[in-house]
Amino acid sequence: MAQSTTQAAVIPLAPTAPILRHRTLWRDAARRFFKNRLAILGLTIVAVFLFLALFADWLAPYPYDKVHFDKVLLFPFVDPNFPLGTDEVGRDYLSRLIYGARTSMTVGISVQLIALSIGVPLGSLAGFRGGRTDFLISRLIDVMTAFPGLLFAIFLITVFGGGLEKVILILGITSWLGIARLMRGQLLSLREKEYVEAARCIGASEWHIIWRHLLPNAVSPLLVAVSFGIPAAIFGEAGLSFLGIGINDPLPSWGKMVGVSSAYVRVYWHLALFPTILIALTMLGFTFVGDGLRDALDPRLIE
């Protein structure tokens, strides 16, 4: 009799239970995320800018580098052909703002991809192996942290030149530290779990354990870190471009547009106003998404 009850209890549950629990964790998080009005607003903003970035070629009325010599420094809402006016060499400002979204999104996402591809393996290795590997990687992180990032970026740019790809590369190799530190901390606690021991016992390789068992458990803090990392990278690009050592002309960048316009802004206020609003909106969108993700995924709030 005892045998039959255990069978009845175990057999139907065993194949479905882990899958069901796994899915509800994410479904719970998604439900909490979509209940948060600010998070939805943020997601909408991010989606709009991603849409602008992807379809800039169709949405923009002119190519970003098309010069109209007879329409230099046009105010907005004056000429219906140039709804947001033109810049100091007569390029349609609306088109440049739309293409600016492409620059920002490209930089934000690519920088985070680079940061992930350096930070996750190094951090995991340090946290999982411990000992000498951890010591070496931790000291590397220490040294890189002490290194002034901006000075390093300026130095690399003066040596290798600016431009979109180089800005992405340089911001990428200076922004993986946070992710590495996060992964190390996560894996330090996760590797003590019983299921890791079990995986070791059946002879799973180190990378298999990290990839299949540990990374999925560290995904949520990583997701939050990335959602705050993207606006940080966009900020960095805007700063470098503002100084005139980031994105090269004629490719538009909101940071560069603010920087260049500061010479004309006393009269042509619109040159600074529109990129300012767009930078602020992008940051706002990603910050709301990040806050929302953090609140939705933070296990402390599950009560």
């Binding site: 002490a146 290194f147 603010v258 006393r266």
Partner: protein, 323 residues
């Protein structure tokens, strides 16, 4: 405790050593040099003389050892871009101004940020909370060079009440030697971001501790709200903030290139760009070492302050949480 601090200082020295080696090798390994001719070619003999004068004709490892030997004697060399002074003198002169901006910014943003964050948490969901949350959002989403530009547009171009640039100009003193009109806009522009950070952290952290049992106990035994807020709540909410905000301090003290460029402040900031552009090796080394040392010292100080405000934390030993 002393042993712990000495240990940390030694590891800081190690980090500085590695940072200096990396910087030195990186600087010298890229093609080109500080005295490359532009259009006008120097006679080979003259160029050789210049290189010999600065020791640039030696192998890199020899140059590095010589540089470090001099640094140990507090001689940081001569900046190539301003040869009539020394690196130490140049940094002392310009950093004084940068540190002035930074110190005022820290005082303003941390003071106001703490107050605003506390009020926002205490009067949660009131109009105060909304104003603080909105301002903090603005500070996080708008880069400081954009804030600076708009402050100039509003206060010096439109309203013409504050100067748009310069630092401690003789005609702009409000109280001579004490307070200058030149300081207001740069410090405001520079403060918005750290203010937002401090206000957000304080609000979250006070909200967490305001519901704690010891607050109810304090209320029950009849303490005044002010004593509860400042003595009990603030003290406990400061603990997580020290680690989060401590690292902001060296950042603020070394200044912002953006703020200094926008307001034409003769501080350290511009040398970040000009030194790298001109391959001013001694200046680059000094800046890198200065910032790295400040970082290390701040982290150490943060950990020490941590044990001071939270006696539960013990450093270095096995007992307690560790920082």
């Amino acid at each position: 405790m002393t042993r712990y601090i000495v240990g940390r200082l030694i590891s800081l020295l190690f980090v500085l050593l590695v940072v200096s080696i990396i910087t030195f090798v990186l600087m010298h390994s890229v093609p080109g040099g500080p005295f490359d001719e532009g259009k006008q070619r120097l006679p080979p003999a003259a160029k050789e003389n210049i290189l010999r004068k600065y020791g640039l004709d030696q192998p890199v490892w020899k140059q590095y050892l010589k540089y470090m030997w001099n640094v140990l004697h507090f001689d940081f060399g001569i900046p190539y871009q301003v040869p009539n002074t020394t690196v130490a003198q140049l940094i002392a002169d310009t950093w004084k101004i940068t540190a002035q901006v930074g110190a005022m910014t820290i005082a303003l943003s941390f003071g106001l940020g703490l107050l605003a964050g506390m009020l926002a948490a205490y009067y949660q969901n009131s109009w105060i909370d909304n104003v603080v949350t909105f301002t903090a959002m603005l500070g996080i989403t708008v880069p400081n060079f954009v804030v600076a530009l708009w402050l100039i547009l509003i206060f010096s171009v439109r309203l013409k009440v504050l100067p748009s640039g310069g630092w401690s100009e003789p005609e702009n003193w409000l109280i001579p030697g004490v307070f200058s009109k030149d300081w207001i806009l740069p410090v405001l522009a520079y403060s918005l971001a750290p203010f937002s950070l401090v206000a957000r952290y304080t609000r979250a952290s006070v909200l967490e501790s305001i519901r704690a049992d010891y607050v109810r106990t304090a209320r029950a035994k009849g303490l005044s709200e002010r004593v509860i807020l400042f003595r009990h709540v603030l003290k406990n909410s400061l603990i997580p903030m020290v680690t989060a905000l401590g690292p902001e301090i060296p950042n603020l003290l070394t200044g912002s290139i953006f703020i200094e460029a926008t307001f034409r402040i003769p501080g350290l900031g511009k040398f970040f760009v000009t030194s790298t552009f001109n391959r001013d090796y001694p200046m680059i080394m000094a800046l890198v070492l200065l910032i790295a040392a400040l970082w290390g010292l701040t982290y150490l100080l943060t950990d020490i302050v941590y044990t001071w405000i939270d006696p539960r934390v013990r450093l270095g030993g096995a007992a307690g949480g560790g920082a």
